[in-house]
Homo-oligomer: 252 residues x 4
Amino acid sequence: MTSERWRQATEWPLMAAALLFLAAYSVQVIGDVSERQAQVLELIQWITWGAFTVDYAVRLFLAPQRWRWLATHLPDLAMVVLPVLRPLRLLRLVTLLRVLYGTAGKALRGRIVTFVAVSAVFLTYCASLAVLDAEQHAEGANIVTFADAVWWSLTTISTVGYGDHYPVTVIGRAVAAALMVSGIAVLGVVTASIGSWLVERVSATATVAVEQADADLKGQLERLHTEVTRLGRLLEESQGTRKEPVVGEETR
Amino acid sequence: MTSERWRQATEWPLMAAALLFLAAYSVQVIGDVSERQAQVLELIQWITWGAFTVDYAVRLFLAPQRWRWLATHLPDLAMVVLPVLRPLRLLRLVTLLRVLYGTAGKALRGRIVTFVAVSAVFLTYCASLAVLDAEQHAEGANIVTFADAVWWSLTTISTVGYGDHYPVTVIGRAVAAALMVSGIAVLGVVTASIGSWLVERVSATATVAVEQADADLKGQLERLHTEVTRLGRLLEESQGTRKEPVVGEETR
Amino acid sequence: MTSERWRQATEWPLMAAALLFLAAYSVQVIGDVSERQAQVLELIQWITWGAFTVDYAVRLFLAPQRWRWLATHLPDLAMVVLPVLRPLRLLRLVTLLRVLYGTAGKALRGRIVTFVAVSAVFLTYCASLAVLDAEQHAEGANIVTFADAVWWSLTTISTVGYGDHYPVTVIGRAVAAALMVSGIAVLGVVTASIGSWLVERVSATATVAVEQADADLKGQLERLHTEVTRLGRLLEESQGTRKEPVVGEETR
Amino acid sequence: MTSERWRQATEWPLMAAALLFLAAYSVQVIGDVSERQAQVLELIQWITWGAFTVDYAVRLFLAPQRWRWLATHLPDLAMVVLPVLRPLRLLRLVTLLRVLYGTAGKALRGRIVTFVAVSAVFLTYCASLAVLDAEQHAEGANIVTFADAVWWSLTTISTVGYGDHYPVTVIGRAVAAALMVSGIAVLGVVTASIGSWLVERVSATATVAVEQADADLKGQLERLHTEVTRLGRLLEESQGTRKEPVVGEETR
């Protein structure tokens, strides 16, 4: 079995596992669950983690160059061997975004805009979960409800940063750093899309000018061709008129 | 009656209704009104809401594909069926922006800059109203005067976010989120406009170079055409001189 | 005397007046001056204000279409008729920037970068002065030293906005709004300059490709021209060889 | 010995000195060192400073135009003559970035992205060190641990600026200003890279259109050339048939 076929066969099951994990994690972090429920939710998360680990092992086994594969899939490794850092498990969900990007529309810019919008919402939700998980039982924390966490995520991804809520734990700050980088990238993509649309409009005008010039050249060449063809006909006639008398001379 | 004709016939009355609504809402939120006045202002708002609802119903009735129209006009629906969320009614005013964009100048970039400047001012004003409406009677709120609300809007749309004032209610935070997205878009359009202007200047130089090259090619083709035409004349003369002797021979 | 000649004749004196005003205003706001010194500084400012007012009146008198000139020079008018709003007088200094832009280097992008850098420093300084002037004697203000004012300006123009210092007066907030807009524009110009430089590098490659294609076309045309010229020579010779025999026949 | 050879010979030793300095400075600022260790670390820093000073002197001596070299290397001078401002010594490390840029990959955009990513991490680290050095013993400071310093650097370079930590000393604020400018530049480069990538994709399409048009022109020219060549053959044949009879006439 090849690496590619494994990937295709496991894409949807892993997607389901990722969503299941997200649901269980969300309930665990946000909800007010009994100890019994908490155990079930924890179990679901460990099972989905198991599925990811098996997938990782199989992909490593199937890879043609294992050391290279290992080196180029470090985030996957981090996710598998560091299950204690629960927010890190959310990294798995990036796969969802990859699938989204693959199934988005055809036009480059529209695709990017859709992708950025969905990613921004998704990242805000995941970051809110992760920061709440890290902060809600920390001492001196000011992000203790999910509403606060979402609000904090919004102010961070937009780089507004009021400072009414902010993380105080190391993990919470790491989540914040990831979100800030995303915020910069989102700003960048939005700006770049508008910019490239404007430039395209302008360069479309330039392209029209160039095409006009080309059409002029083609017209000139067309006329030249007509002229040369006429010359060719004249020459053939001329040879005809000359050859006849020559023949006439000989028959004379 | 077609959908298009209805739209044309109702454009200005709805515009007037929207402005009337904005005025009534502004006085209600900012002003210090007596109970009697408050009732009048509330009535005006319900009347304008009625006008929007009738417009929505008629447009839905006239639409060729009703389900599709419903699906592509969800913001309109939200505005009509959720009149309790008063700030949401401000959405109607987006129509004003659409008309503004339609009547702006011809040049693409100038139009965008004008549109962005007016939209930014308009959004700042509406967001100030909406946030003040949501926050002024909330417990622990720090946006309680219109001056504070405008100042908060400015720090948010520019993504500065000092944090001296910030919303604490859910509706206030939703308004903030909308304003942050606007802030990002405004930053993007400003950057993109400057960028596309710079690129245009550079690509204008490139276009000049291409046009120069085209002019060279045209010159070459011109000279070639002249040469071929001369050839044609030579050939015709040659036939003439040949035909003459032939005629001469025959007359000989 | 024409409007243009007046502008040329007064450019440097007004520049000097503007700098004198800036110096006097700076000392007055930042320095710890005695009452006597304060009167001198106030006098200097009124004299420079007088110079600007005279200049404004003369330019209005010399303008071909006075109402139009009035409508397109509203900032100048505001500066002249509202001398009570001292920070507004700083608007006059924008002229300094205009001269700077005119005397900067030739290359478009280098010029813009220089202009933005100098403008950013200049705006930071003026905004610091203006906000300190507005805030330092206000109740509850937290910008009370020049160091604080400069620091606040920096955090605002970069849209960082820590919120450790922020204006509380209306005039101070108006200064802040102007500075935020500048911050957005600065961000935009920096981004756009980098972007257009990158695009230029890429489009330079494209231009090279187009030029190569043009060169190929020119080569083809050159060869065609050579061929046609050869044809022309052949035809002339042909006529020559034909004419000779004909002449020979006649001399025969 | 030429200036260029000196630069080549000292590049790696100075790099090592810079890294040694960074290590010693890091331990001194972050670590909890005994007085004895502090003296050793101080000594290392003075030795590396000595190396930089010697390098500066030699380069000045070797420069063809010394006054010009002095004027264009002011940051180097500041670093050498102001060793009291310890954070300033970190400027030397910019050389590291220069070498990184030189050894990065070939493709322009990939190189820039790598360079920006590494520079951002490096700047964040150096700014954290510098601000901690300036703030940790200052009165009323709120950046007193390395974790706080790194967190503050992150919120500043991303222009989020929560305001939970901020510098209060003049040197700390100068470091902050440098970091803000870097933040703006980073935002700019990220945006510009995405934008230029998008524009390139679009302009690639335009280039293809232009190339298609060129190919059409070439095709037309090809056919024209064939036609003219055929004409030439016809003409030569025509002369041949004419010359033969003429010769025939003469032999007759």
